[in-house]
Amino acid sequence: MNVPLMMMAITLLVALTAFLFRKRAHVSAWMAAGGTFLLGLLVLVVPLEEAFDLAILQVRFDNEFVLLGRSLLLDEPARGFIGFLFLLAGVLLASSTYSKTNRFFSPLIVLLSAILAAAMMMKPFLYAAILMELAAIVAVLVLAAPEYPARRAGMRLLFVYTLAMMAILLAGWLLGVVGVTGATPEIARWTAALLALGFAVLMAIPPFHYWLSVAADESHPYVVVTLLLFMQTVGVFFLLRFLDTYEWFRIQSSTYDAMRFIGIGMGWFGAFMMLGQVRMTRVLAYALIMDMGVVLMAASMADQQGLELMMQFTAARVPAVVLWAMNLTSFIRVVGDDTHAKLTGAAHRHRWRSLFLLLGMVLAFGVPFSPVFPGRWVMVQHFASTDLLVLATMFAMWIISGSVVLRWYRILHAESAGNQALVGREAEFYLSCILLGTTFLVGMFPQLVLPWMEGIVQGLSNLIP
């Protein structure tokens, strides 16, 4: 049996099923979530390239599917990445059940997962850039819906991803075919510039995040967060794959210097942009940009620990961010929108929503007992002796994030007319409790989950000998 082919077929089947049940959003979301979650587990546990007995049959799972002379190869690193991607899709889809996204959200997210999974398996790896463009096209279909006609955001997303595709294809061709060495400084400069452009788009590095601010205004907050989490995660995987595949890119010290400076820039930019926003969706979007800055700063450590931290941050932020996004959409449903004016005093009427929302914010910002805190503390200890600018950025991010939480706490708890509490709990309450519990569990016992994420980079044999 061919695992990549089987995986694509099952994903399409799940997407089709979710599509058929699109008018019953809850059913569609739960089916899609269950399907992607099972796929994630299947990818992680299936024994590849070895025969084993299953009842009376002898079964062997092949890890390569060849099409038009190119192959989809499920090797060890791709397996970890794809497993994580499907599990992420499962969590996001399950949490979307009560977010009232558009009715095509579930099938399209499953389809998006399939395309991104194919991109990660693609050999030669260069071709993945075209699949990323196809993923961006599907992302636009998710982003723009009749009730949220995010046309500007959609066109901007398409434009930047088209630029990224072109840049990565050309850079990959220069690296793989022309060959970049120390003796070809002109080509090396071009390659570096093209790669910088490509990754800037994939990781939503300013100013290539410009689709995001419009999307935060025009589209559904949960959809924006879902897409950003997906795209940034895949951006991290791409970066690791590129580092692993192309030696020239990996051995340059300037690669890591650039990551550090971009990371610092993103940290400050995201933190300051969060301060003055009047819409909470924008705060959430800039928080994710700030987070990606931390991921890049971790990558700039240029050692195994840094790479493991990258993966850890990519996974660890998910429950808190989802908790925040889910309760924000819940608020929007009851108060109308996510602006400062509409949310003023809303905590008095919607106590548990407000509590979960603020807890989601606090935990996403990496306070002690949050899942990202142990990794951030490791970074603080590392950079305390090597780079004070990174250290200052880390502490500034904590301080600014704290003031953002305080500001929104005051907005939500401000005095306003009609402050009597609403009684009654909805299903979202229980889902939020589960997410909060997961966040605290991972935060207090990081050894339960995070080593698995860190283990993914072990498969990158060139990067970690």
Binding site: R70, Y127, L134, L141, A144, P149, G154, M155, W173
Partner: protein
């Protein structure tokens, strides 16, 4: 005959330039889509000089399908898109054509500086690729609605693909590029369909 077509590169080069001017200058969506289809025909023609005939045919078919999909989505909007005062329409056209002329001169400048020096590539193919990419970028920059921006994006991609398939002429690449064009046409049509009719009627610019 195919060999004769493949060796005649002047006609598709001029054709691409003329189609580009229509794409930029016209306010009528149907004409713009016809120009896009024409542009695809000339790009496929030009591809014959460095790609097998079957690849050129795939490219042609993809282009015509893409144009057909965009045409379907635009039928309902045609009437409103032609509204606006005559003087405004003429000055708009003049501005666009002048901008297009400047961009073509700049594209020629890039071409003659041999910035992209790809061994074995015909001069006219390189010139057309740079011209297409530049005019695509111009159209993206000066348009406001989804359809013209989308057509600019497709033009930009056509230019890039002409360069890239010369470097990497594989079946997988051609197939994936065709998929991207069709998916782009789908999503552009979708975004265009989200435009409230009232805003199109009130919008004097493209």
């Amino acid at each position: 005959m195919i060999d004769t077509l493949a060796s005649t590169l002047v006609i598709p080069t001029v054709g691409i330039a003329i189609a580009g001017s229509f794409l930029l200058a016209t306010r009528r969506r149907v004409i713009a889509i016809a120009a896009l289809a024409g542009q695809y025909v000339f790009v496929a023609w030009m591809s014959l000089s460095f790609l097998p005939v079957s690849f050129g045919m795939v490219r042609l078919l993809t282009g015509l399908l893409t144009s057909g999909m965009l045409y379907q989505s635009t039928l309902v909007r045609e009437q409103s898109a032609t509204s606006g005062a005559l003087l405004e329409r003429l000055t708009g056209k003049a501005f666009r054509l002048i901008a297009y002329g400047i961009v073509l001169v700049a594209a020629y400048g890039v071409f003659s500086s041999r910035w992209f020096n790809i061994p074995g590539m015909e001069d006219l193919v390189l010139l057309s690729a740079i011209g297409l990419a530049s005019s695509g970028l111009l159209q993206i920059g000066i348009s406001r609605e989804s359809l013209p921006i989308g057509m600019g994006l497709i033009t930009l991609l056509c230019g890039f693909e002409m360069l890239y398939t010369f470097l990497e002429p594989s079946r997988a690449m051609i197939a994936l590029q065709a998929a991207v064009h069709l998916a782009l046409a789908l999503v552009i049509s979708y975004l265009d369909s989200l435009l409230p009719t009232s805003s199109v009627e009130g919008d004097k610019t493209r």
